[in-house]
């Protein structure tokens, strides 16, 4: 059918089942926006308040649906602003399709108004990118982009389209198939290696399963729970693997890492066999991989061969999609049920080393953020999405908000401040049936609170918790510990009154600074319909751990 490239781009999105896009227009992307307007019945066009937040919202959306989500920016500064979101998605392997406008083809390279080489600038952070110069490539590029973003190890794909190309016409048909000779992601694991890994795991005396974000990426939550329960093996997660296991599963030990649970780190050091599933052994998860490698047998599943052996040497490497490989392991066990060692002593050993959590009495006029989150979790329904920002609030949310089946979403790899609120907007829109809470600090909130307007404008019912200590708490703590308490550049004096700020957006808000307000806030966070902001006042010296 004859149509413009812009119309064809919209047809591509429709063919891929895209229902919502997050973006910010400008001159160079106007032809595409014009075509989007004609398709508004099929595709909801959300105006975010900053391009990076459009990317983060798409990220939240993609993480809930498990499919690539779309964000849009104009050329130059718009595209460059998007880079933070692209890098954030890349670090956490989240499938995004990022569409940017570009200046006219004949002007590329001449530094005209709002020109930036975005395919070049974003290159380190994209799984792949396209600069569309020929209108007849549009269908193939979109088809490939969605395929590349969503398969294998997922990631962001950028499509840069010059304005003149957007206006050109072509005879368009969306390709039915995609065939990229140089991109054939592995699915199933090598049968022999699956057998070896399964035997090594179940015959081990003290095995431990470590879950990373790859388990969500491959939608292998059920398989990994089934495997650990079948073999009676305890489980730890990285920050990206949080919420695969319910916190009340007796096999779940906790999150590992520099800010992880003591008991989880104890289990890593005490185990004799560590089974990594979609975990890349990042430095915040495992500080000294070389020591671990020496003392522990490492079994490692990853869909990305480059992750195996990158940070830790694997005794048993296994390349494949976690869901398929775990299914193969379960099938093997079903056919060969003998050979599983008794792990009850090992589980007891972990249990005996657990220390109960005790909460310190909060300073007057503040609340204990850990206790607040624990109480909130007890009151909230199980299927809640928790979107944590970065810093102390993130660690508290990961450790003390008890998860029972919802999702824990955070920028684990890149540690991007300001991720939480836009992520919550996207996550809530992806599945409105789930209550969704953004948890951030007063630092991160001031990087993303403009998205409250987006939530108001489109009626996205999210709850926002802002933990305020007028400090960049984690950096302050680092300065206290590592720099002889020379605190600098961490004071957030001059911050607005967050309750009044919410009011300015027409959002009800409550300040939490004692037991009574704490109770009320928890009740309202659980029960109120519509947006709500809770400012949780935290003591300035409250420690992360």
């Amino acid at each position: 059918m004859k149509m413009t490239v812009s119309q064809a781009m919209v047809e591509c999105l429709k063919a891929e089942g895209i229902k919502v896009v997050y973006g910010y227009p400008g001159a160079a992307i106007c032809p595409f926006y014009d075509a989007l307007l004609s398709a508004e019945k099929d595709i909801r066009n959300i105006l975010v308040r900053h391009e990076a937040n459009g990317g983060h919202a798409a990220s939240g959306y993609a993480r809930i649906t498990g499919k690539p989500a779309v964000c849009i920016a104009t050329s130059g500064p718009g595209a460059v602003n998007l880079i933070t979101a692209i890098a954030t998605a890349y670090a956490d392997s989240i499938p995004l399709i990022c569409i940017t406008g570009q200046v006219n083809t004949d002007q590329i390279g001449s530094d005209v108004f709002q020109e930036a080489d975005i395919t070049g600038a974003a290159e380190p952070f994209v799984k792949h990118s396209y600069l569309l110069k020929d209108p007849k490539d549009v269908g193939r590029a979109f088809k490939e982009a969605f395929y590349i973003a969503g398969t294998g190890r997922p990631g962001p794909v950028l499509i840069d389209v010059p304005m003149d190309v957007q206006k050109m016409t072509l005879d368009f048909e969306y390709p039915k198939k995609v065939d990229i000779r140089s991109y054939k992601p592995t699915g199933k694991g090598n049968y022999l290696q699956v057998k070896r890994v399964t035997e090594a795991l179940r015959s081990a005396e003290k095995p431990l399963i470590c879950i990373g974000g790859g388990v969500f990426a491959s939608n292998a939550q059920n398989e990994i729970v089934e495997l650990s329960e079948t073999l009676n093996i305890p489980v730890i997660t990285t920050m990206m693997g949080i919420s695969v296991f319910s916190d009340d599963n007796p096999l779940y030990v906790g999150m590992i890492g520099t800010h992880g649970m003591k008991i989880a780190n104890y289990a890593v050091n005490a185990c004799d066999t560590l089974f990594l599933v979609g975990a890349r052994v990042g430095d915040r998860a495992v500080k000294t991989p070389l020591d671990l490698e020496r003392t522990t047998k490492i079994l490692h599943i990853d869909i990305d061969p480059a992750e195996i052996g990158k940070n830790i040497g694997a005794d048993y490497p296994l390349v494949g999609d976690a869901k398929q490989v775990l299914r193969q392991m379960l099938d093997y066990i079903k056919k060969n049920p003998e050979g599983c060692a008794d792990h009850s002593g090992w589980l007891r050993q972990i249990e005996e080393n657990k220390v109960p959590t005790e909460f310190a009495q909060p300073v007057k006029g503040t609340v204990n953020p850990k206790e607040f989150l624990q109480k909130l979790a007890e009151r909230m329904p199980a299927n809640v999405n928790i979107c944590a920002d970065v810093g102390q609030n993130q660690i508290w949310s990961s450790r003390y908000y008890f998860k029972r089946g919802g999702r824990f979403l955070t920028s684990g790899g890149m540690g991007t401040m300001g991720y939480s609120v836009p992520c919550a907007v996207g996550a809530k829109m992806a599945d409105p049936s789930r209550p969704t809470i953004a948890i951030c600090g007063d630092g991160g909130f001031q990087m993303n609170f403009m998205e409250l307007a987006t939530a108001v404008q489109y009626g996205v019912d999210i709850k926002v918790i802002v933990m305020t200590n007028t400090r960049l708490g984690m950096v302050r703590e680092l300065q206290t510990i590592g720099y002889n308490d020379r605190q600098t550049g961490v004071f957030l004096d001059g911050s607005p009154d967050f309750v009044k700020l919410a009011a300015a957006y027409g959002i009800p808000a409550i300040r939490v600074n004692d037991e009574k307000s704490e109770k009320e806030a928890i009740e309202r966070l659980a029960e109120d319909k519509g947006l709500l902001l809770a400012e949780v006042v935290v003591d300035k010296d409250f420690p992360t751990l």
Binding site: H128, L131, R181, S182, A306, G309
Partner: protein
């Protein structure tokens, strides 16, 4: 240790920058990089000589393979390949030195491409280490200008590196 890596890539614009960018941001050191077309016009071949231990080279290979436009990667083992590099060098060659330089050219197999009253321009196509030796002996005459292509290499024997054959 030096490694010679052959990479078959889609002949698209931008591929080279993706590859060179990957090397710099992952901290891999490139000694030389040569790129050119192959008998299949849709495929270019890049030959990279890189420095690093086995772990680094394994990572280079894996990271290269992750680039969508990279079709195939192969790191050649020692003595598994034949390799050549072209060097063009312009040296000071006043009349009284010309015959000396000619002798060196004869011994090393270098050819004279150009000559003036005061200079000679020589070309030599050979292995990397031989080019280095040639450079050493010609250097005392005064090198004015030099250009090298970087190594290109193919597998020794009847086996061959092709996008279609299994990895």
């Amino acid at each position: 240790m030096k490694h010679t890596i052959s990479v078959l890539v889609e002949n698209h614009s931008g591929v080279l920058s993706r590859i060179s960018g990957l090397f710099s941001r992952r901290g891999f050191n490139i000694e030389s990089l040569a790129v050119g077309p192959t008998h299949d016009p849709s495929i270019s071949r890049i030959t990279i000589v890189a420095d690093g231990d086995d772990h680094t080279v394994e990572q280079i290979e894996k990271q290269l393979n992750k680039l969508i436009e990279v079709i195939k990667v192969k790191t050649f083992g020692r003595d598994e390949f034949v390799a050549r590099e072209l060097m063009i060098v312009k040296v000071n060659a006043p009349a009284e030195k010309r015959s000396e330089i000619m002798t060196i050219a004869e011994i090393t197999g270098a050819k004279v491409m150009d000559i003036t009253l005061s200079t000679m321009t020589l070309e030599l196509c050979d292995r990397y280490d031989r080019l280095c030796r040639f450079e050493n002996v010609i250097e005392p005459y005064g090198i004015l200008e030099m250009a090298r292509t970087g190594t290109v290499a193919v597998e020794r024997g009847s086996d061959y590196f092709s996008p279609k054959k299994g990895s």
